[in-house]
């Protein structure tokens, strides 16, 4: 899921060759999405609608880059995602 350089597959123009992310966005969160495996039906709607692409197709959250917007929790029909206070995870 993380950004990987794709040197063989892209034309040699402007792409930053190291392709790494220097700063993370996890610190922006005041709430974090927590997935209840038992309720998850693997419909992948959360993965699809996350603006940051921080839920993998296997439905695990990348907390280094998730901004805690809550879109995933709202889109999840079975209610498998809860937004929890970030401070409790510090």
């Amino acid at each position: 899921m993380r950004l990987k350089p794709l040197p063989d597959t892209i034309p040699d123009c402007t792409a930053f060759e190291a392709g790494y992310l220097v700063t993370q966005n996890g610190g922006w969160r005041s709430e974090r999405p927590v997935i209840d495996e038992a309720k998850c039906v693997k419909c992948r709607q959360c993965y699809l609608y996350c603006p940051d692409g921080t839920i993998s197709q296997e439905i695990s959250v990348d907390y280094d880059f998730c901004k805690g917007c809550g879109i995933c929790a709202k889109i999840c029909k079975p209610g498998a995602i809860a937004m929890r206070r970030e401070a409790d995870y510090a």
Partner: protein, 277 residues
């Protein structure tokens, strides 16, 4: 095979960007690149998506991407497409321009590229104001929406009909979409990618920061705009217009507007009036 959530490219090509939490525009870019693939060259003028995507030494695009002068998105795309063709490279050239960059300042370049029939996919992510510089009114700000340049009454002008403008210029394909209905958006991008000539997709992309909505409401609001009939999903193809769906709950229009902070200047009479503009 049609692209869907089941077979969409699992790689992320727009990742780690600095868009606000819940940004609809960033979702439009992320999903489009998943459809167009690693070799697509993304072309962005000044605007939120370039501001949040290019933060040297951090680049949030893992495909090739570059920033153009504000007015020049479509003409820079033309040059890139010609260069790639000259080198024998096969890659989609895709533009991601905001509403200001499309309907106002980039309109001439856009018209030129349509006129030349260049083989390009131009995506306008419409957050209905100049967001990156602090929420100023654009030609696509809807009637009644408060911006920092329409602070008292909200915009007194109606939204330009970009799809009709693009069609009248002679585009091969033009379609409207919503980040609230990604299956439809994905289908339209796929369709555009398979056609030669100039293709235009106009995707409504709510902006929590500028619209006065919660960060988790972006998708709901983008869906509702379609459902209440404010944002019509349509396609222009082979010289014909196709209406994709009829509004499913037009009676909820006022509710849709009043839950967005930007429409707080509208009183009851004006809210009713929005039905006619």
């Amino acid at each position: 095979m049609a692209v869907s959530v089941k077979n969409l490219d699992s790689r992320e090509f727009f990742f780690g960007h600095k868009a606000c939490a819940g940004c609809g525009g960033s979702l439009a870019v992320r999903i489009a690149l998943k459809v167009l693939g690693a070799r697509a060259v993304a072309v962005l003028p000044a605007g939120c998506m370039s501001a949040v995507g290019f933060n040297f030494p951090q680049l949030a695009f893992s495909n090739n991407a570059l920033i153009t002068p504000f007015a020049a998105t479509a003409s820079v795309m033309t040059g890139i497409e010609a260069g790639l063709r000259r080198r024998g490279e096969i890659a989609h050239v895709v533009g991601f321009a905001g509403d200001g960059g499309t309907a106002d300042i980039g309109l001439q370049a856009l018209s030129g590229a349509i006129d030349r029939g260049d083989n390009l996919i131009y995506i306008c992510y419409d957050n209905e104001a100049y967001m990156n510089t602090g929420i100023q009114k654009s030609g696509l700000t809807p009637f009644g929406a408060r911006t920092t340049t329409t602070p008292i009454t909200g915009s007194v002008r109606r939204k330009k009909d970009m799809l009709a403008i693009v069609a009248a210029n002679g585009a091969e394909y033009a379609a409207s979409a919503s980040v609230g209905y990604l299956d439809d958006y994905v289908t339209k991008i796929e369709k555009a990618a398979a056609k030669p000539g100039f293709k235009y997709i106009h995707v409504i992309a709510p902006c929590p920061t500028g619209w006065g909505i919660k960060t988790n409401e972006t998708i709901e609001i983008a869906r509702e705009a379609v459902d209440v009939g404010l944002w019509r999903l349509r396609e222009y193809e082979n010289g014909q217009w196709l209406e994709n769906c009829a509004p499913s709950r037009p009676e909820d229009l006022v509710k849709h507007l009043t839950r967005q902070g930007r429409f707080s200047a509208l009183d009851t009479d004006k809210l009713e009036e929005t039905k006619n503009v």
